[in-house]
């Protein structure tokens, strides 16, 4: 067996989800190669060569891959895929964007967001917002898989893979990049943070999110949000945790003014310890919380910030 893992990166540095995806590949077993498609992405290749378990780092460095356009990346990956038994990518918005195109081009199914490897052809994945776990088996010649990072530990970085550059660049000519507005933050990212404090509709407005930031500063935490808080404009979309936002599993998740809808729980219920702060003792979030505090958040959160 040989497995191709597609790295997640921003041309400057490797994203953590890549490490969890490599672990999934190692669990499947066999030779693991890593593809880095981007532009001026040498630094990423150097970083990736250190991931234990990776045999070769393949680099496709060209302007057509600069912005990870799905039409272009999927052509490259499906061309390379014929030499592999499995192709894996992190289930990030980027992986979700191009991988189904790879699968369709190869005329195979995709197995989305696996959380466990049962064997080389059998995997577990959550369905119905995580309210059921399906075990699925694939008989396809190439198994195209996206990997949910929270299901796998990060691979360690004490390896030394060889780096090979690929002389490939195909522009599908279907789409072009216009612009990007990326959140700038000194805080850890939601998907890699050990502690997350999230706010919901109960926060009332966007400036009240600074109350959460004060706690986050003390704990080195990331700040997240419910869909209701994002829809209301209290927080940007990249902060949404849930079935259709980010899936997180930190050591500590603090839900503030969040009721605990199925779709929100789907994104955080695998956290190690859950704390809920809500003034409504009937709120469903308390059914999954290890520690619940029934209180007005405008009293409790400042007090929490002061006592840390």
């Amino acid at each position: 067996m040989s497995i191709l893992v597609i790295a997640e990166h921003d041309n400057g540095s490797l994203k953590d989800e890549t490490l969890n995806t490599v672990t999934a590949a190692v669990q499947i077993g066999g030779n693991v190669d890593l593809l880095i498609a981007g532009e001026n992405c040498n630094a990423v290749a150097e970083q990736a060569a250190k991931i234990s378990g990776v045999n070769r780092v393949l680099v496709a460095d060209h302007a057509v891959y600069a912005h990870q356009l799905a039409e272009n990346i999927s052509l490259l990956v499906s061309e390379l895929a014929v030499d592999y038994s499995h192709v894996l990518a992190p289930a990030t918005t980027n992986g979700k964007n191009f991988m189904p195109r790879v699968a369709a081009t190869l005329d195979v199914s995709q197995i989305s967001e696996i959380t466990a490897v049962v064997s080389a052809d059998t995997f577990k994945r959550p369905i119905y917002a995580g309210n059921a776990i399906a075990t699925v088996q694939s008989t396809d010649k190439v198994k195209v898989i996206t990997v949910r990072a929270t299901g796998f530990d990060a691979a360690v970085c004490d390896g030394s893979a060889t780096i090979e550059s690929l002389d490939k660049a195909t522009d599908a000519g279907l789409s072009s990049f216009v612009k990007e507005e990326l959140a700038q933050s000194d805080r850890p990212g939601l998907t890699s943070a050990k502690v997350i404090i999230s706010g919901g509709r109960g926060m009332g407005n966007s400036s009240n999110f600074s109350l959460l930031e004060q706690v986050a500063d003390k704990l080195g935490a990331a700040v997240g949000a419910s869909r209701a808080a994002v829809d209301a404009g209290y927080a940007p979309n990249d902060m949404q945790v849930g079935q259709t936002g980010k899936i997180v599993a930190p050591d500590l998740y603090i839900a503030v003014g969040i009721s605990g809808a199925i779709q929100h729980l789907a994104g955080m219920k695998d956290s190690k310890v859950i704390v809920a702060i809500n003034k409504d003792e009937e709120a469903p979030i308390f059914q999954v919380a290890d520690f619940g505090l029934v209180d007005d958040l405008f009293d409790a959160v400042p007090e929490l910030a002061n006592s840390l």
Partner: protein, 249 residues
């Protein structure tokens, strides 16, 4: 320009599913079904394009059992002009759905195809992208804003780090995210009108599509349930427990 919208019949989003005791799947008997929420957003966007004069016809297609006609009628009550049901009782994988949609695209030649980014039952997030590959079309997934011009469409996408804007050649595939629009409710007169709109029924065999899948579901289990913990009386008790009991801060 024609706009094609694909919709799926799924369990109502308010319902928490139960796994069957024989672990063969989830129990859908006597459960409320509805249009997938992301598909509703897709229908709404198409109807708005028609209201703006960008689209001249909105066609809605669903692939599923006979009762999926309900969801097609709902879409027509929201403003779609006509419907197509590709009727099958087999639960199909995304790849088979994408192949069938490719055939519909060949027949209808739409300028835009709008789909939900994922269905809330299988949570696959695949069909639109697969259709893009099979039909050789550009794609703008997880859209929160679209602006159509003569030969292209500009799509703002919700991505992990924030927002990204792409320009796509037409014809293009769009998949909807939650913030693209807020779907309207169907009025009673429009629900009545929708009953008289044309609805064509086809089968996968009519399109000559092989719907066999390389995936087999072996087992469906309940997830490990979390049990409720304790209520604490004060912030200081909470901090003490997080430090000394849970040891997470």
């Amino acid at each position: 320009m024609k706009v094609l919208v694909a919709v799926k019949r799924v369990i109502d989003y308010n319902i928490k599913v139960r796994v069957k005791s024989d672990q063969s799947g989830v129990d859908l008997a006597n459960v409320k079904m509805a249009m997938n929420p992301f598909c509703e957003i897709a229908v709404e966007e198409a109807v708005r394009l028609k209201e703006k004069g960008v689209a001249d016809e909105v066609i809605v297609v669903s692939i599923g059992p006979k009762v999926a006609q309900e969801q097609i009628r709902t879409a027509m009550a929201l403003g779609a002009d006509r419907g197509i049901l590709v009727e099958t009782d087999e639960p199909l994988e995304s790849l088979a759905i994408a192949k069938l949609l490719t055939k519909v695209v060949e027949v209808e030649q739409p300028g835009l195809v709008i789909l939900g980014k994922q269905s809330i039952d299988a949570d696959n997030n695949q069909t639109g992208q697969m259709l893009g590959a099979l039909a050789g079309m550009s794609q703008g997934t997880f859209a929160s804003e679209i602006n159509v011009s003569e030969n292209s469409v500009e799509v703002t996408r919700e991505i992990d780090g924030g927002l990204q804007t792409l320009s796509l050649n037409l014809p293009a595939i769009i998949t909807t995210d939650l913030r693209l629009n807020e779907p309207r409710y169907a009025s009673l007169p429009n629900i009545m009108k929708a009953k008289r709109k044309p609805l064509d029924v086809k089968t996968p065999a009519d399109f000559g599509v092989n719907v066999i899948s390389g995936l087999k579901t072996l087992l469906v289990e309940s997830p490990q349930e979390r049990s409720a913990g304790v209520l604490v009386g004060s912030v200081s008790e909470l901090v003490e427990k997080l430090k000394n009991e849970a040891k997470v801060i």
